[in-house]
Structure formats: C-alpha cells, structure tokens
Amino acid sequence: MNQLTRTLLAAAVALTCGATQAATLRVANAGDVQSMDPHSLNETLQLSFTGNIYEALVARGKDMQLVPALATQWKQTAPTVWRFELRRGVKFHDGTPFTADDVVFTFKRGAADGSDMKGYTAPIKDVRKSGDNAVEIETNAPFPILPDTLTSLYIMSKKWCEDNKAEGPVDRRKGVENTASFKANGTGPYRLKERQPSTRTVIVRNIAYWDKVEGNVDEVVFTPIGSDATRVAALLSGEIDVMEPVPLQDVERVKAAGKFNVLQGPELRTIFLGMDQKRDELQFSSVKGKNPFKDKRVRQAFFQAIDIEAIKSRVMRNAATPTALMVGPGVRGFQPDMNKRLPYDPDAAKKLLADAGYPSGFEVGMNCPNDRYVNDSPICQAVAANLARIGVKVNLQAETKNTYFPKILRRDTSFYLLGWTPSTTDAHDALYNLMASPTDKGQGQFNLGAYSNPKLDELTAKVQSETDPVKRNEAIREAFRIHLDDIGHIPLHQQALAWGVKNNVSVVQLPDNRMFFKWVSVK
C-alpha cells in the first residue's frame, strides 16, 4: 500500500465517522416542493418545507398554540391596529440583519400580483415601520384573529430580494420564475444548500440561528418519490428515514417490518369537490349554452350520487372521516351537530338530474391531482364511477400537481378535487378562502368554482371582525348553513395522516401535516 492509498483510506474512514455523528435526515414525499419562494403557493408541503428555511412573525408550537417567532410580542393598540415587537439580533442566512423594513417589504410582496398569499394579506390595510424593531399592522376592520393568520407569511429579506431581482413573487399560474424559486435566504434554523427541482433538495443547519434547536439533525435531504411502491421500498430498505404519506395499502406492511413507526392521526385537511358556478357555459362539458352547475338540483344530484361510505372503506381503507362541512374537528368553529351529509341515494340523484333537464345526464371534465392527497386519483375515479350511475360521464384528467395546480388556480376547470387545511386552524380561513365570492383582493382565492352568495360574504366579514365568541360562532353556523343549503361544494372527508418513520428517529407530527426538522432527533 503506497502513501497515497493510505491517505485516501484515512480520509474515507474520517468521512464515514463524521457522517455518523452529524445526523442526516433523509425525507421522501410523494411530490416535490413546487418552489423555494415562500409566497408562491399556499400549499401545505410548500409551506411546511420552506418553513424550515423561513420564519413568520408568529409560529405554532407542538400543540398548535401560537408562539413568538420573529416577533417577540404583539398587542392590539386600537381596534384595527396591532403592534408587533420584532426580535433583535436575528440575521438572515446571508448575514444581513433582520429589521422592520423586511417585514414591511414582505407584506407588500405577499400582496403583490402573482402571490398566493393574498388570502393572508387582504384583511391588512397597511404595515408601518415603527422604529427598526417594531411594526404596526392596521387592518381594514377589526380582526381579532390576526396573529393566527400570520403564521404562514414567511419573512424575506428586502435587500436580498432586491439584489436578486426577486422583489415580486413567483407566479405559478403563469409559470413565472425568479431567483427565489431556486435560492432561499431566510432566518430559519436551516439554510438551503442544494436545489434540484423534482430530484433533490438539501438543507443544512443554520449555525447562527437565534434559538436553541432541540433536534440533532444537521442536514436534511428531501427527495420526491412519486410511485407509492418505490417510496415504501425506499423506506423498508433503509434508503430514507422518513416518508410521507405512507400509502394506505402499505401501512400494515410497514408496521409489520418491525423497524418503523407509522404515525397516524386525523388531519385538519378536508377533501372536497368544487364546481364551476360562474361561467355561463362550462369549459369542459357536452352541455352548450348553459352551465348545469348553476342549478342547485344538479349539484345536489352530484352530492347524493357519491357513495362516501364505499370511498371510505374501499379507497381510503377506513383512514378517513366523511364530512358534510368544509372544516373538520380540530378547527375552531367546527359544528359537530351540523355535520350531517345528505344521504347517498342514486335514484334521488337521477330524479334531481331529470328535473333539472338532464334525464340522460351529460359529460363533464374533471381535474384531479395524482400525487397531492392521500389516494387522490382513486377517489376521483370512484367519483367518476358513482356519477356514471346517474348518467354523468366524467372525463377524468388525473395529473401531477406540477401541472394540476397552475391549471386549476387559473380556474381552467369545470369540476375539480381539492383539499384544504385552514392554516389558522379557524373556520374563518375556510370561509374566506374557499366559500366567499372571489375578489381581486384575495378573498375567495381558492374558491375556484366561484360559488357566490352575498349573504355568506357578509357573514364572513362578520366572522372576521366579531370579537364576541358567541356571536362569532352564530355567524359561522349561519354561514355554514347557507353553504350547506346551496351545496356550494361537495365535501368528501377528512383524511388521516400517515408518516412512516424509522424507529431511531423521533419526529413531531402536527395535525396540519407540517414537518419541522428542528424537532427531529436521530438516535
């Protein structure tokens, strides 16, 4: 053995030892994080992952309670004005100090064209700097749950965005990209090291982080693995440490292997179907000159044609809770007594359809993701089969979320499946984003079928500004009742979370399905 080989060998041994001490966490998900820009897509995986790099003013703790993040404290100084004291001594990953200017800038960016965060910024009238270490946020109307709504609006560095020409958000609808898609500069516990879209994203520990980090993970390698079977195989073979979601059919198999935990719990997410109720003629349908979904009887026929119990037992293997409401248990404002679905009744559905003037049904296109929610595409197929029973021919387009989201966010859809987690854990979030009439300010940004009822809009505004909990709850109930009566959407179920985790890894599973690596420990 010559000198060179010996040196190389020593180096290799040193490297291997080094690798075992510094814990690397290998994570796989069914789909990729769409962009590194935290304002580009209001989607759980996107916000969950970028939430390790970026931080908001306010965060959520392990029990979903509000905890200080970049703001140390906040108080309401007037009915519509809030004052947030900012944390001092915080630095972005590039070394720039964090100041009030960054906060003011972020709120502007979040409200700009192309941002998917308008739902969070719309109630805000103005954000003012109050010295270097405080901001005042003024809302249009009294807004008692403001801090709850700020947990997903991640703060970006003004200087970095300007230097990198990323002042505006990445627009997923138009396919506009900028530096912020591929690079990141936050204040969070992890910094972006490598970004290869659809292939591999690596983040490493930010040693200058302002807070103590509980976990011991120095590096996280995130890999999207689309195929369920391949993802499970990767976990079983030890190629990855954590995977999400575990395909329902493989939960038992993963548990039986003995080396893994399957963390299951109810998720706050509600899966539902939406229908285009705005256009005078559907874009994708055999019906010409009118829009069948404008007729409540058609919407009700669709609702009653869906055999939700079969979807629960067969498609979801009982890991779902059928729902009649757009929010589930665990969300403030959930109304257990109102959670009653119209009965499954294909005959009644057929009759309703005939009454509406479609005795032999019609054709309609349906958009569905195939790598976003648990068994999303099989659910859509089951719905298509159910609807075929009442004569409705569904032309199903199930595709990856990369093409699915831009399409439906442009509202180029007649009938779609979507899931929604109220990120504020409050019913107002669902009312405001999903059920209220769309405006260009951000209201109804995810009401993609443009269901509209002025009374519900009024009630949503009331829920937003009402401070008396009893009156607020009454308004929520009233709004839900209207939505139920109108059949504005067809709620399906709340899905169950399933994370597959190696035995030597401990993670904290939040009911909004976010995974924060600062709480992860590898033994």
Partner: protein, 305 residues
C-alpha cells in the same frame, strides 16, 4: 413472379410441414391465438366491461382471485382497487396492447420497406443519405426516442392529448422501428436487383417503380415477415414500458403496461393479483409471438431446411 405466387410459395408444403412437426410452434400459435381472440372479442368474451364505469361496484374492490379466501366466482382473477374485474381488464388491456403493437409495426414496415427498397434500388446518394439516417436512428435507444416523441406530442396538443394518445404512441414506437426493415430490405434488394429477372424486366422497358413494387418487393418480403413478427412482441413490450412509466395510453383505457403500473402500488400490501396477472399476460403474449417468430425464421431459412 406476382405477389400471390410469392404467397403461395411462402406457405408451400415445406413451411406447413415444419409447422406441423414443431410442438413449440403449435403451442405458441395456440397461446397466441387464444390471446388475440380474447383481445379482439373482449366485448363478447369478457365477463365484465371494465370501461363501463356505471357497472363498477366499489364495494367489490380488491377482491382476491376466486380460489383464495374471500374471493368470488364473479371475479375469477380478483378485482383491482376500483372494483374492476382483472380478467376482463386483461382482455381489454391486451386488445389495446396488441392494437398499438400491430399498428406501430405496420407503420414501421411500410416506412422501412419503402425506404429500404428505394435505397437499395436507387443506390448512390439516395442510398447513402437513407443509410446515414438509419445509422443516426440506431445510435439512439428506441425507448428514448419514444419518450421524446410522446413528450413532444404532449407539448403540442396539451388538451387533445387523450384522443391523440394512440396516434402519438404508435408513431413513437414506429419511429425507431423502421430502421431494421430498411436495412434488411436494402440488403435483399441489392442482391435481387442484379438477378436475371430484374435485368430482363429492365431490358423490356418496365419503369423502375413498377420493377421495384411488382418484381423486387415480393422477393424481399420473407425476412420482413420474420422480422415483423418478432417486432410485434418488442413493440408490445415497448408500449408496456411507456405505459408503465405513465406516458403511454390514457389511464381510462388501461393497456397491460398501465395495469401493471397500477398494480405495482399494491405489491407490498399483499394484493399481488392486481399486478401479477397482467404481467403474466404480457409474458405469454410476448413469449408466444417471439417463439412463432423464431420458428418462422428457421422455417424460411434455406440453410436449415
């Protein structure tokens, strides 16, 4: 010599005798016949219609084959995650696989034979050009070309993709396939063009195109037939590969490859029948067609007779 005479010669006593005395050929032909028959007449033979969504019973989803615990005689080979009968899905799937396989081979035969004839008969610059194109095509893996064509097809017609999917798929598989025919036919044509009957035709003033089609073509078809048989199996496998990768036929019209891909997700959970049966069917079809092709090659080879 005319085309029909060539066919008569083709199926003359020797070939037929060789078939009758080869158990492998008879077995392969029988299996291929059953597969093709089931595929062609799936509408009548299959116990259910997996494409008719209205007949699907979600509560029957994921039933095991009839002989296993919990199986039902209503679904001999079990059902998939949507309650589709596997046996029926197999028949309909085989139809799509065969359709794509045969159609793409036909297309590549037409293109390949045409260009090969032209190349061999015309010679010179035409020959050189066509053969260099062949060389370029051969340097790409065929699956890569197919993926590329499929991708381009999707980009060009994003909305109409499902309706055009078959045409794009056939084209994608045929494009890398024609080269082999062109080379084979060119070689044979080079041999044939110097034979007396061609020279005789030329001397009597028959136009070149007519000589090519009426005189040379029938005499170079033998190897093409052998090649085409084997290529059908390859094309079916290529289609299955593309569908397995998720770029082939639309999911509402599952081919064997699509069925295998769908079933693949259930392998770990013990629901093996969803993927094993389509896989077996694919093996059966490809194997029998290949065996037939092998036999045909031997039977037509004068040196082995």
């Amino acid at each position: 010599m005319t085309g029909s005479a060539a066919l008569v010669r083709f199926f003359d006593g020797d070939v037929w005798h060789s078939f009758r005395t080869s158990p492998v050929a008879i077995g392969a032909a029988a299996v291929a016949f059953v597969c093709v028959f089931c595929a062609l007449f799936a509408g009548w033979v299959a116990p259910h219609n997996p494409f008719d969504l209205a007949t699907l019973e979600l509560s029957d989803a994921r039933l095991p084959p009839a002989w296993s615990d919990g199986g039902s005689t209503k679904y001999l080979l079990g059902t998939d995650d949507q309650g589709r009968d596997i046996l029926s899905a197999l028949m309909y799937g085989a139809r799509i696989s065969l359709l794509v396989g045969v159609a793409s081979v036909l297309l590549s035969v037409v293109v390949g034979v045409g260009l090969g004839l032209l190349s061999g008969f015309a010679g010179g610059k035409t020959d050189a050009l066509i053969m260099r194109v062949c060389d370029v095509m051969l340097s790409f893996p065929s699956i890569l070309i197919a993926l590329l064509i499929d991708g381009v097809g999707r980009a060009l017609f994003p909305e109409a993709h499902d309706t055009l999917a078959f045409a794009v798929l056939v084209f994608a598989i045929a494009l890398p396939g024609w080269v082999q025919y062109a080379r084979t036919v060119r070689g044979s044509t080079l041999v044939e063009r110097n034979k007396e009957y061609v020279q005789a035709a030329r001397v009597t003033g028959v136009p070149p195109l007519r000589i090519m089609v009426r005189h040379v073509l029938p005499n170079v078809l033998g190897p093409v037939l052998v090649l085409a048989t084997i290529q059908v199996a390859t094309a079916i496998l290529t289609e299955a590969t593309l569908s397995f990768l998720g770029v082939g036929v639309p999911p509402t019209q599952p081919s064997l490859g699509t069925l295998i891909r769908i079933g693949n997700d259930f392998l770990f959970s013990g629901e093996w029948w969803i993927t094993i049966f389509p896989g077996l069917m694919l093996v059966l079809i490809a194997l029998s067609v290949n065996l037939l092709g092998d036999w045909l090659r031997d039977a037509l080879n004068p040196r082995l007779r």
